[in-house]
């Protein structure tokens, strides 16, 4: 089970904050992708996307692949992408996949 909360900035500033919680795995990735991409496409433009993972306690490689896909999409439009507050367990998966730098992973667990 994974929930997603997406906050768009007011006006034309182009900020998007995606807060995920639960388990980001292959069972939910298609739905989560569709929701996020739907918001990005319906926006006038999205320059900066921040994905907050502080409430994600498990991630598999499908979840990591989703973040890579979003990162590619945003960067190809000239925007910036970052992942913030991953729990240690989640961060270890990024490290194994050697994607901490590509995904601009920042800060440890917020708690």
């Amino acid at each position: 089970m994974c929930t997603v909360d997406i906050k768009k900035s007011q006006g034309d500033s182009g900020y998007l904050i995606v807060s995920l919680s639960g388990e980001l795995n292959k069972k939910v990735v298609r739905d989560i992708r569709d929701k996020i991409v739907g918001v990005i496409r319906s926006s006038r433009y999205v320059e900066n996307v921040t994905v907050d993972l502080s409430d994600v306690n498990l991630i598999d490689t499908a979840g990591v692949a989703l973040l890579v896909l979003l990162c590619q999409h945003v960067k190809s439009k000239g925007g910036t992408f970052r992942v913030v507050h991953p729990q240690d367990r989640v961060r270890r998966v990024f490290k194994l996949a050697q994607l901490e730098e590509f995904l601009t992973v920042e800060n440890g667990n917020r708690q």
Binding site: N25, K26, K27, V29, R30, R33, D60, T61, A62, V64, A65, L66, V68, L69, R89, R92, V93, K95, L96, A97, Q98
Partner: protein
Amino acid sequence: MKMETGSNDSKALISVRHLNSFYGRKQALCDVSFDIEARRIFVIMGMSGCGKSTLLKHLIGLKKSPPDTVWINGEDVSKWGHREWNDYWLRIGVLFQNGALFNSMTVGQNIALPLTVHTNLPQDIIEIMVEMKLHMVGLSGTAHLMPSQLSGGMRKRAGLARALAMDPEILFVDEPSSGLDPITAAALDELLITLKEVFSMTLVVVTHELESAFKIGDYMIVMDRGRIIASGTPEEIRQMPDSRVQQFLNRRPDEEQRDYDSYISRLCKVKRR
């Protein structure tokens, strides 16, 4: 280890009790019992032909187990039907000795296959996952190649990438180091340990490579002629005085093979024609 007959109170992920296994009339496993705890690396060791691979076949459902001998998550697998086995097979990954890739598919297609068949993941996500798995096993940039274009060691690693495709809860690995150079084999050992730690994966590794077994194993059994002759942590195994265990650990061939006199004696018994 608990060794009850006909019941299983163990909290282990996999329990085996008094398992006997046959190929026709030839007995391959004799009274085999052990527990595999979750999130550990369990190593099955022994010389060629000792029953390691047969045991693996029982654990992954390629060989039928008699009632009350193999439990997975507390369930007697002899009672499982197609649905239960299919659910189990979706939760496990298996690296066979030869890699077992489909030769008519590219490496990338081989790895993507279980994801395409068993999940609703979009193709773009699957392609990224394939590249990630290949990178993890040190085969970045080979997705477009055919298995026939890979060396034996590369095929083995591609097989591991496919076994990891579904992020399995349990990974079964048959002889991970065979056919690999020492550096690649060491890197593979490190990867197996990392998988356990990062994904809380349970690994069951069949090997006759001592160095690798003692490096990665949390718990191990040593088999000889279908029987378990020793079980314990790597340290406990090292300390065991049993002559057959020490013979295996010290890589000494069977005395029988070294007995020159009995060899000559057998030669002399051959009747002249």
